[in-house]
């Protein structure tokens, strides 16, 4: 499988799974933000073309 090492982060609300905006920044920033907002981080590993 081809790996283009594309990654995106999403802060997942603890209560609902409604449409969310993807987080723009580094993984560590995303984790820090998740911690402060009591959320989880979704890391999507996918292959690009």
């Amino acid at each position: 499988m081809k790996k283009a090492f594309a990654i995106s982060f999403l802060l997942v609300l603890a209560a609902t799974a409604s449409a969310q905006n993807w987080f723009n920044g580094t993984l560590d920033q995303a984790v820090a933000k998740a911690k402060s907002e009591n959320k989880l981080v979704l890391v999507d590993f996918y292959s690009g073309g």
């Binding site: 997942v12 920044g25 993984l27 920033q29 998740a34 911690k35 979704l42 890391v43 590993f45 292959s47």
Partner: protein
Amino acid sequence: MADNGEPAGDAIFKRFAIQSTPTTLVLGGDGAEVDWFVGYRPPPESFQAKLEKILKGEGTFKALQAAYAASPKDVASIFGLARKWEARDNTTKAQEKYREVIALDPEGKAGSYTDENSWVTASYTEFARLLLATANLWSPNPNPAPVKAFIAQYPKSRLVKVAYMKMSNHYVSGASKEEADKFFSEYTARFPDDPVAAAMWLARVIRDNGPAEKAVELADRLRELSAFVPDPRISQMIARAYDLSGDKDKTEAMYGMTFMQDRVDTLASNLAAYADYWAEKKENLESAAAMAETAARIKPGDPYFIRRVANVYCVAGQEAKALEVYGPDWLERSSPGLAAQDIRNYATFWLRQGKNLDSALAAAKRAVELEPRTYYHWTTLSDIYAKMGNKPEAIKAAERAVELADTKSKASMQKKLEALRGSAPVKK
């Protein structure tokens, strides 16, 4: 989004030892892994359902780890952790956990697991032993001996069949011809009714380009085993076997135009049946509509399948869409090629919906025009007039239906007519 601000995206792949994509990994606010899943399969709702399960903390890696920490001898949690690591292709960690399962519960009494591919249920320990035994089958130097040892240890296990199936890949492409012959003789003798056993052996014979007699023998057997549920992959192998023997007629009969047209027809019927099933339950309607549309696409011009699409849209309350695919425009466009029965079906469909009645009436009139001596076309016409409140015309058409009805239907037609005559005038 994407790897903005994260130029070394591959560093994150390495950090979490991600082996394949797509992988969805959920982290907690402490940066620790909460859970993950590998692969994506539509519909998106099932992806969402998985995420919601994670949000609830059901069966997650984190939950299993917590259960394990609380009771380190809980075999179910350990096995669960092993499956999580295996899903992520982390063989080392998976094997470590499988070994723990075996050490804690050598007799396999702690509980059982159902595999989601084979649907076989067996004890955690049996699964752990088999998964450890098969681990090296995909290594550069595959060794089937541990799997054979598993079969010897659990001769009556439901997993024996799975064990043979897993080994068969090696014997199709890895082992010598002699070893393969020996293995497949044993496999097919043990599971004579298993099409997989015969198909894998045939795959090997085709790979070796013969012997043709063996290929034909296996092909004939496979034909019998897959007669009720023909599988195009198996049919192609059977055709290849007949190619080896030079029997063109049999190849054509097995895998020619008729075979594939039958598969297409069967697929269309299955898609329509699926759409009807969910429409009846008034659930899963988006998928039902999509599948009905697929059926209509692969059987273009067949009114039956277009009607299935319209039916789902009506059930979903999307009448405009139903009219778009199966409304007056459709009728006008298709009319020249339609049989009277198809036109009547259009009329009864909309009569049942109680919508689009003007067009339904026009269709019913057209049906009686085409086949004026078929009583049930007149019945439909009468029903539509009645629904529209035009009692005199409804009675006229019903009288004609009584006149033409066969002896079996005459009585019920007569009853219908009398009801029409006797009923209070219907207001328009």
